[in-house]
Amino acid sequence: MNLRRAAIFAAVLGALAAGAMLLAGANPIAGFAALARGALGGERQISETLVQTTALLFPSLAVAFAFRAGLFNIGAEGQLIAGGLLAGLVGAAFVAPGWIAIPVVLAAGAIGGGLWGGVAGVLRARFGGNEVIATLMLNVIAALLANYLVVGPLHAPDVAGPETAELPASSWLPVLLPHTRLTIAFVFALALAGFLRYVFARTVFGYELRAAGEAPHAAARAGIDLRRTALLAMTLSGAIAGFGGATLVAGVLHRFNVELSPGYGFIAIAVALVGGLDPLWIVLAAFAFGILQSGSLTMQALAHVPKDVVSVVEGLAILGLSARRFARRSPDAA
């Protein structure tokens, strides 16, 4: 990933978005203006864009982590939900001062997501199961299981909707800007991106993960235990996504709700690929997609561009990037 490629990609994506707006019968210039206004038009808008950026960043880093180890984890959505659910249940039940309650809630999220990712990791490591299918199915299971639990057996007495009871205010994440939803989760996400970059570039563990991902046969002969790396990569990837789910619970909704994620875990695949699986570029990509997420409603209201245009563009981005992955294997490589 470099600046030139990033610019080309942004231009192509912009052109696609303009085309989609034209097809939807709207004026692309007005559409972009409304999008920018909705996402960046003021302190409130910018902070909301950063909330979306944060929400996307965790699962995107999770996806990139697994991809670098050669594992196509498309289950960040399920892992995010699993982590959010456990964080919501623990958070609602656990009353303590913030300095102890917040770490416990976030750890619960990481554990929930880690377990969910670990299931796919075990299937892969012990039985050679395909992680794509496993994580895809686990997404569905996570969503339905969460719904069942909060409506059924774990239903809190004084709650009407499909959600847990509210977390005590001491467990809420501190906000960075007063009267916004932007919390220290944003700082955590940036720190995590930097940390993962360090892990890949400087640690033996990161080196082994990349070797397993790039050249499994060579890695196995170099003494790298492929089953161990698959299990660890899937578990840690899930833990990152689950941690992200917990930050949504403790920072945004203050409870677990079955509509915790509008598909962050899926958009994350596009974000991770746009970012070239490099944590620093993923931060920028998450910001770009955060703009789309937070500006789309304004765009719909002001320029009459259906907000689904954003989903179309996200889908095209994934499609284009997957095609590029295959195109790279061209025969004239000498």
């Binding site: 400087r202 640690t203 033996v204 563990f205 080196y207 082994e208 990349r210 070797a211 790039e214 050249a215 046969h217 060579a218 890695a219 196995a220 002969r221 170099a222 003494g223 790298i224 235990d225 025969p331 004239d332 000498a334």
Partner: protein, 485 residues
Amino acid sequence: MALAAASLELRGIVKHYPALTALRGVDLTLLPGEIHALCGENGAGKSTLARIAAGKVQATEGTVAASGPVGLVHQHFELVDRLRVWENVVLGREPRRGGRIDVAAARERVRDLSRRYGLAVDPDAVVETLPVGIAQRVEILRELSKEPSVLVLDEPTAVLAATEIETLFATLHALAARGAAILVITHKLQEVIGHADRVTVIRGGLIVSTGPTSETSLGAIARAMVGGDVPPLSARAATVPGPAFVAANVSAGAGAHALRDASFEVRGGEIIGIAGVEGNGQAALCDAIAGILAYDGEMRLGERALPPDPAGRLAAGLRVIPQDRRREALVVAWSVVENVALGDHARTPLRRGWNVDRGARDAAARRVVERFDVRTPSIRTSVDSLSGGNQQKIVVGRALACEPKFLVAYQPTRGVDIGAAALLQSRLIEARNAGAAVLLVSFELDEILELSDRVLVMYRGKVAGEFERASFDRAHIGALMAGGA
């Protein structure tokens, strides 16, 4: 000879790649009925020229004129591994009946081709299950099925056994006799002298000599390729052999290429050569020792049983140079530094706590680059952009860097040019002189006889004979390799 008679005419070929210029103005004419050898070191531009001749790559400048189809047999085969032999041969030109592939006709076409050219292969075998030597036959058959007027073969004998090489050249002579022009790219100068009508030497993207084989000599071709004299091998020092590796009744793998009940010992300070035709259990033996193929029987390193996993074996001082360097030995997308570290990355001095020690890594990479004369712009260059010979130098250099107790080298000089091969062979001898036990698997009997203290002949997965250096008997070894007594 009139120009119009040429089967293939290359004029003023120049080829620029983003980072280098591969060819700087090459003229080459192939005549019908001739076998023409093209020699040159790694990176001289041979493969690029082959691809341009076959129309696979566009020249930056210059013209290519051919009198008919040009077939190209690749150095790294271009086969669909998951498909059967007949499917690969007819791919893109399938015989049809109605809307469907006429399978019977396709099989028959393959059988007919392999009969005609003496290239035996089972049409229904799946390519990925075939050893490299046989896979290459499939590649040759595919090209022959196009009835080419020019056939270009890029390093065709690098993976073949002596008898297979004879068969191949018999095939090529037969083809030439029917009027085809054959261009053979090779490092093996005996083949050039023995079979080619004319020989062209290329160095640094330029033709440095061309002419009839009868008017040149092996030494003259080698000097033209290297641009000087080939260095002599290191001397063998007297060593005090002690037991290093013992295999007792080891069996591994399944099918025709399995290892069956092999027992032998490799002592410190000696090179054991495994002579044999490819596909007689050598790969299974190396994989079992490396720890990636399950085996029955017992293997010991020094006084202790071999640790169960590859990591433990690496730590105990075992290094294996595997068969497929691009897949099994290197991470080709990575830099020289990261590749040199692979395998030693988890131990000091290359690690410091959780972290990689970047200074130690760079130093290790520089040592390998210097000691093995790896031609690379920098240690940060990706291995993928280096020539095959330089990639191999990294693989061998890395294996020897830790001063292993026991080294298994599978075809360590495969596809490497004369000068580099001599360097790698010298380093193997030096490791032996320093007390390492070396197990050398090679399909080139000359290399085995040159380097080994003892030779074991493998046939159908079993040790069929053993020879001491003092009593090497080339004819007897050759007979045992072919299954004789």
